[in-house]
Structure formats: C-alpha cells, structure tokens
C-alpha cells in the first residue's frame, strides 16, 4: 500500500535497494489482508456474480466506511500503547445528539458535522486528560467512559427515536449520495485515512506516536512531549468517532440511542486484524482500514453466499481467526528467511 510505495521510491539504487524492496514488500503487513480480501471477493463473485455489481461494491464500501473511520482513530491511540474503548458509545451519543439537533430544522450540514465532532472531541479530551495527565491505565479509563457516555446517551434518549422522515434531506444525501459515482462516505474515510496515514509516516511529530508506543520510557528520555501526543491521539479518536456519529445518522436516518452499541470490540478487532500491534509502536492506519474492510466484507459475503443464518457468526469467527493466523505464520516465515539471508550478507 502507500507505505510500501513510499519506502521503495526512496530506496537507493543497486543491490541494497533491491534487497530493501524485497524486504519491504515481505514485511508489509497490509499485503496479507489485501490477499485475503482478493480471495474472499474472488470466491464470492464466482458463486454470485452480482456481488461485484456496482450496487454490491458500493454497499461494501458504504458499510465499511464508518468502521474504517473509527479504526483510523483507534490506530492513533493503539500505536501509542493505549486503547479507546469508548468509541462505540461516542458514536451512539453523537448520532442521537445530532439527530436531536436537526430534528425538524433544516440545519446546515457543516454545522451538524462541527457539532458532532465537537462532542466527540470533548469525549476524547476527557479520555486523553485522564490517561495522559493522571497516567491511569487506558483500558480501565475508557471502559469507564464507555459506561458513562453510554449511560448519558441512554438517559437522554430513553426510548426516543430519530426517524429518517425528520432528518433533512441534505444530510441524508451525505449518507447515500455520491460524486462521480463514488459515494461520499468512503470518500470521506479515504481522505481522513490518507491524511492521518501520511502525517503519522512522514512528519517528525507523527513518528513520535510510534516512538511512545514502542518504548514509553525511552520516549521520555528522548524529550518527546508524551502527554501532548497521547492527548492528541485521544482527541483525534474522539473527533473521528464524532464524525462517524454524524455519518451514522446520515447513512441510517433512523437512530435510537444504542447506535454502534458494542462496536468497541469490532473496532479493536479491525485494528488488530489490520496488523496494528495492540502493545503499540507498530502498524498503519491503512492496515487498520483494510482490516475494517475485511471484517465488513466477511459479513456481507456470508449473506450473499446464502450461508445459513445460524452458521454466519461461527464462520465469521473462523475466518477472522484464519486471517490473523495466516498473517502470523507468514510473518514468522519471513522473519526466519530474513535472519538466514541477513546472516549470509553479514549483519
């Protein structure tokens, strides 16, 4: 993916460059996900050609975009060796809040987006301050804010519902419309993903996120502004969750309080499947987004292949395990091959 091309483009000439190219390709975690996707889509299309129809492709991308957006934010947090379990609750809260906001008014879309992201930013800020300033374990804190935000959301909503009929059509258009045949939702996700990915990879401050996750003590000694970065990661994750909440409203129109309920684990699995190390320091937003795409595709494929409803979960779980196992086996292989070759070339 983008990671690969960037490195190879910069690689020097000659033998070293060639070797580096091979190394980089072999080391690119994103590759095995792409391969898995290709296999999955290939098999499904062979069975049911309508899967790759324009409607089919559009649906897959539409379905994956919100999850991918959340995965991008989550990656920033996970890379710093933290976790944000509250994203699902934030999406629910924002989807409902912005639904209430637009209810019966013809609000400007930009205003709705700003409001949603602002709510997300506040949630992210709370998480970030607790984790970075008070140095409390991220998992506990965000599990706590998961419950708190969810509670607030449910308490506020208590059985109310936002109906598509009450949502301004301009907002609904955002959820289902497209430019040049590309729906807005995936477009937004891709723009965000590329922007975050490019920042993390190519800017000195972006690399610091990886440094913090890789070795927090060393990061402190290196004079990295750890608190600031972790705070940033959480705020970005919150803002993206807020954005996702508005997009949720735009896409689904009908919203009850528990939108995205339980999505925290879905997002985490997308990130992990995408090759982001849960202990930090490793992985890219591209991988995470691909992981989201893979998970969503598995879900769609099973329905399209007419798999018995009762078997769907079981097979989805199996495929998920298969994906991470194969990926792991491949990377073990590659490491071993690299060790032998490197030794022969002299370290």
């Amino acid at each position: 993916m983008a990671t690969t091309t960037a490195t190879t483009a910069a690689a020097g000439p000659g033998d070293a460059g060639g070797r580096r190219l091979v190394d980089t390709v072999l080391r690119a975690r994103e590759l095995s996900i792409v391969a898995a996707l290709v296999v999955l889509v290939g098999v499904t299309t062979a069975v049911n050609s309508s899967f790759l129809s324009s409607q089919g492709v559009k649906d897959i991308f539409l379905n994956a975009s919100i999850l991918a957006l959340l995965a991008v934010g989550q990656t920033m947090v996970v890379v710093t060796r933290n976790i944000d379990l509250s994203v699902g609750s934030v999406v629910g809260l924002v989807a409902f809040a912005s639904g209430k906001f637009v209810l019966g008014h013809d609000r400007n879309i930009v205003l709705v987006l700003v409001l949603g992201m602002a709510i997300g930013a506040v949630c992210g800020l709370v998480n970030g301050v607790l984790v970075s300033f008070f140095k409390v374990p991220a998992l506990v804190v965000t599990l706590g804010t998961l419950y708190v935000i969810q509670g607030l959301d449910y308490y506020w909503a208590h059985g109310q519902q936002i109906n598509a009929a009450d949502v301004p059509s301009s907002l609904l258009e955002l959820g289902s419309g497209s430019v040049l045949g590309i729906p807005y939702l995936p477009l937004i996700t891709i723009v965000v993903m590329v922007a975050v990915g490019y920042y993390l990879r190519s800017f000195p401050s972006g690399r610091e996120f990886y440094a913090i996750g890789s070795n927090p003590d060393a990061a402190r000694l290196a004079g990295i502004a750890i608190r600031k970065r972790i705070l940033t990661a959480y705020v970005v994750s919150g803002v993206l969750a807020g954005l996702a909440g508005v997009l949720w409203l735009a896409r689904f129109g009908t919203v009850v309080a528990d939108a995205a309920h339980g999505w925290e684990l879905k997002v985490v699995s997308a990130v992990v499947v995408g090759g982001v190390a849960i202990v930090g320091g490793l992985g890219s937003v591209y991988g995470a987004a691909l992981g989201a795409l893979l998970l969503t595709t598995i879900g769609s494929v099973l329905v399209v292949l007419k798999v018995n409803s009762f078997w769907q979960d079981a097979i989805a779980g199996l495929l998920l395990l298969l994906a991470i196992s194969v990926d792991r086996l491949l990377s073990l292989r590659v490491t071993r091959a690299l060790r032998r070759r490197n030794a022969r070339h002299g370290a």
């Binding site: 690399r207 060393a218 000694l221 004079g223 190390a277 032998r340 490197n342």
Partner: protein, 503 residues
C-alpha cells in the same frame, strides 16, 4: 586569569528516593575540551548524577549551572535543548522503529513542509556508522539488536547531536576492544572541538587512557575531584572503596575433572555454524570474540532458549533435549543472560522474588512457597555479593545497574548448577565487586563447577580463563590454552587473521 566558566556544573546537589539518599552535597564541573571521569562503586550515585544533568531527575537540593548561570531543567527535552547529549547506562531504543529513526527521533532531516527526508536520514545514519566503524543496516528495526549493537546505536545517537556536553554512562560495558577504540577516537575529536565530556566506566584502564580529571563518589558523597596525572589505579580504587583492593583476578589453580558440558557440531542456520567444545569440571572456559560473533547465541542455544538446527548438547554424559530451559536447568545448567533488563530480571518484582524465581521448587514447604526461606536465601546472597539495597521487598528496578547484575548472579548461583554459563557476568559491576565475583567463580570452579564465561572484557578473559575459545563470524576460530593466551593471540583469532589455526 579569567577562565571561562564550566559549561555544565552541579553545586551541592542532593537527591533521595524514598529512604535512599542517592546523592548528598555533590559538586561537579565539566569544562570544555576536557574528558572528565566519574568513578564510584555500584550504587554510589553516578547514574543518578547523570540523570540530574540530563534533566530526568530534579535535584532535591542544590543547583545545576549552565555556563555559570543556574538553570532548571524541567525535563530531558530542556537539557537536550541546552546542548547536553546523554548515553544512558541502559539502552533506550524504540524496538519497532528503524535504527536510523532511533538515532534521529525528533531531529529528523526535513524536506519541504516539514516532512521527513528519508533519503537524507538514511545517508546520515550510514555516515555515522562509518565513523564508528560498524556495519549496521540503517533500515533494520532496533528489535533484536544485541546489547552491544544497541549500545553502538546509543553512541551514534549521542554524537549525532553535535552537543556541547556529552555524558556517557558506562558506554563501553558491552563493547569489545575495537568498538571501544573507535569510541575513544570519536571522543577525542569532540574534545578537540571544545566539548565537555563526562565518562563513566568500571574499567579503570579506560579511565586512565582517555580522561584528564576524575571525580569519585562514595555512598552518594563527593570524595574528590582531581587530575588523573599522578594518580595510580590503586589510588582510585582506594578513593572509591575506601580500602585496598585485593587482586582483581584471583584465579585458583584447580585439577580438572571429567567433561561436564559437551557441545558438538552445534549449528543454528545463519547465526553460528559447527560449534564444538567441552567444559570440564573445575574449568573456566572463556568464549571470546568481537561483538556479534555469535557467542551469546551459542549460549542461548545451549541453554534451550533458541532451537538449533543441528548438533547436540550433553551434560554429564546425558544428551539434552533442545529448546527447553527447564530441561537444561534440571540437567544442572545455569545461564546468566547478557540482557539483565529483559532476560535476567523481572524489573517490577522484588529482590527476594527475583532471586527465588529459579529455585521455587526448593523453597516450597508443602505446596506453599515459604516466604521466610525465600527471604533467607535472598539475604544470604545479598551479603555474599555485597548487594546494596534498602529492603529485600524493593523492586529490583530501583537498584543501580551493577546491583541489578548482582541480583542476576545470585538468582543463578543459588540454583547450585554443575555447569554455569555466564554472559558478560561483570558488565557494569564495580572493581571491588568484580574481584569478588571473580573470586566466587574461581572458588566455585575449584569446587568442581564447569564454567563457560562469555566476556568482552579482554583482561577478564585473560585473567580468569583456563582456556580461551575464540569465535569469529559464527564459527570457532581458535582454541588458546591459558599460557598462550595474550591480547595479541586472542585479537588475531577474533578478527579472523588466524583462520588456518581453527580447531
């Protein structure tokens, strides 16, 4: 005469951690164009002093002076900004990032819009490595680097800062002669450019080779700051320890018994090839070689940490199943690993628990681990190894580097092995205790223990070994008996100049 003020100085600085007073009333001045040595026993407070200079710790009392003016460092970033570069005692690398990124974290060469210029990054790293004379791939991740290579990356990181003050906390502890020589060359260049350097080492000969002045600490107190000219190593030891030192290499002559540890044709593809040797009861065999020659890898394979592709390990005539440290331990092998932070110790665990971890079975009373037995054993070893600590229930992480190393030794010696493999056993240990460790090893050997000692400290190898095996690029290059082992013969084999003599 108006001499310029020292670039960096400390004035009556004190620092305590809980009940431990690590430093009290210490003053120090680092002048431009000078290499200043800091000496002291393990736990004397050297690293604490370094961390104060680096802005990691804030002094409880006293001041830090920069160019003669008081200056408060609020974090390591402040010190860096002020031109202070530090090589910490323990490597501080980011394992997931490339070596080049590790070196230039926060100071990457920039292209347009503040982006990182990767080509320049790689080129500059390569230039640094060339200057230090090492062949490391700038693009490889730091994970998996040997301790020595990690140390080299740390050195590259520090010198690349073009700092006015360079502080080096035991940079040579894991290095062998070649790298040390390179480091000294670079240090002298910096000195000539007017930098101030602070150098810490437990190898006294290094201090005498490169430094002009020395400051000695004992128990957190300043003993003296003086010119090295006219000082003898014994004087220095006297200041550090407060007493005369016994001989550093108290090698006892022993009668050799039967072979205890036999390694034959051991091969791990791409790492080492066809390694065969035996260690007899009562014998100390040293495994020498340059950094990266594969010595530690052999030790790991013998102990069952790594699997090997071919060959066999026998202990007392019984063949060992590979890949199981548990099996190796019950056969009577012990391994003091080279990386004490990752492999040797549970840093958050207490001293007593760390020592007891290898002997849980023998500490049992019924199904329950006896806390009293555990504590007794730990206290016993603490005394034998002169461990400096506050409470046995303290985390080992708060001990000084050398004292941590002693805990690792205690942990393994308490298993009462028949074959002991020690990888850099005295890394970071002060001269006083080093002599003690040597005496202990020698004594254990005399009692019939087979010892395989991996060491990059050539005098230690020559002083302690009955026999020296030299590795070069993953193969055994020479076997040198004690009386023929000299600096020249060992180095010749280690650098591959005596291939034909290989066993």
């Amino acid at each position: 005469m108006s001499e310029p003020p020292p670039i960096l100085a400390l004035e009556t600085v004190g620092k305590s951690f809980g009940a431990v007073q690590a430093l009290r009333g210490v003053s120090l001045d680092l002048r431009g164009g000078e290499i200043h040595a800091l000496a002291g026993e393990n736990g004397a407070g050297k690293s604490t002093l370094v961390k104060i200079l680096a802005g990691v710790h804030r002094p409880d009392e006293g001041t830090v002076l920069l160019d003669g003016r008081p200056r408060e460092f609020r974090g390591p970033g402040d010190a860096q900004q002020a031109g202070v570069a530090v090589i910490y005692q323990e490597p501080t690398l980011f394992p997931d990032l490339s070596v080049a990124e590790n070196i230039f974290m926060g100071r990457q060469p920039r292209a347009s819009f503040g982006r990182i210029d990767r080509r320049a990054l790689r080129a500059e790293t390569a230039r640094l490595f060339e200057r230090l004379g090492v062949a490391l791939d700038p693009d490889r991740p730091a994970r998996g680097l040997s301790i020595a290579d990690q140390q080299i990356v740390e050195i590259a990181k520090a010198i690349s800062r073009d700092a006015r003050v360079l502080i080096m906390d035991e940079p040579t502890a894991a290095l062998s002669g070649n790298e040390v020589a390179r480091l000294f060359t670079v240090s002298r260049t910096l000195q000539d450019q007017g930098c101030a350097l602070l150098f810490i080492s437990h190898r006294l000969e290094e201090i005498f080779e490169i430094c002009q002045r020395v400051t000695t600490l004992r128990d957190g107190r300043l003993i003296a700051t003086e010119d090295l000219d006219g000082l003898t190593p014994d004087d220095l030891v006297q200041r550090m320890v407060g007493r005369e030192l016994d001989t550093l290499y108290p090698k006892q002559d022993t009668t050799l018994g039967d072979p205890v540890l036999e390694v034959s044709r051991l091969t791990r593809e791409g790492v080492f090839t066809d390694v065969s040797f035996e260690v007899r009861a009562g014998e100390i065999v040293a495994l020498a070689g340059l950094v990266g020659a594969g010595r530690s890898e052999v030790a790991r394979a013998v102990f069952g940490i790594d699997r090997y592709d071919a060959g066999a390990v026998t202990v007392g005539g019984r063949r060992l199943s590979g890949g199981s440290p548990t099996a190796a331990m019950s056969a009577g092998i012990a391994l003091v690993p080279e990386d004490r932070r990752q492999q040797g110790l549970v840093m958050d665990g207490s001293i007593e628990r760390n020592i007891g971890l290898t002997t849980l079975r023998s500490l049992r009373r019924g199904p329950v681990v006896s806390h009293r037995a555990e504590r007794d054993r730990a206290a016993d070893w603490a005394i034998r190894l002169q461990l400096k600590y506050a409470r046995l229930s303290d985390a080992v992480g708060v001990l000084s580097g050398g004292n941590q190393q002693k805990v690792v030794l205690a942990k393994w010696l308490s298993t009462e092995p028949v074959a002991l493999i020690v990888d850099e056993p005295t890394r970071g240990i002060d001269v006083g205790t080093k002599a003690e460790v040597h005496r202990l090893l020698s004594q254990l050997a005399a009692d019939g223990l087979a010892v395989l000692m991996i060491s990059s400290d050539l005098p230690e190898v020559l002083g302690m070994a009955d026999r020296v095996l030299v590795m070069h690029e993953g193969r055994l290059a020479a076997e040198i008996p004690r009386d023929e082992a000299t600096e020249e013969t060992v180095m010749a084999a280690a650098t591959g100049r005596t291939r034909e003599e290989a066993v």
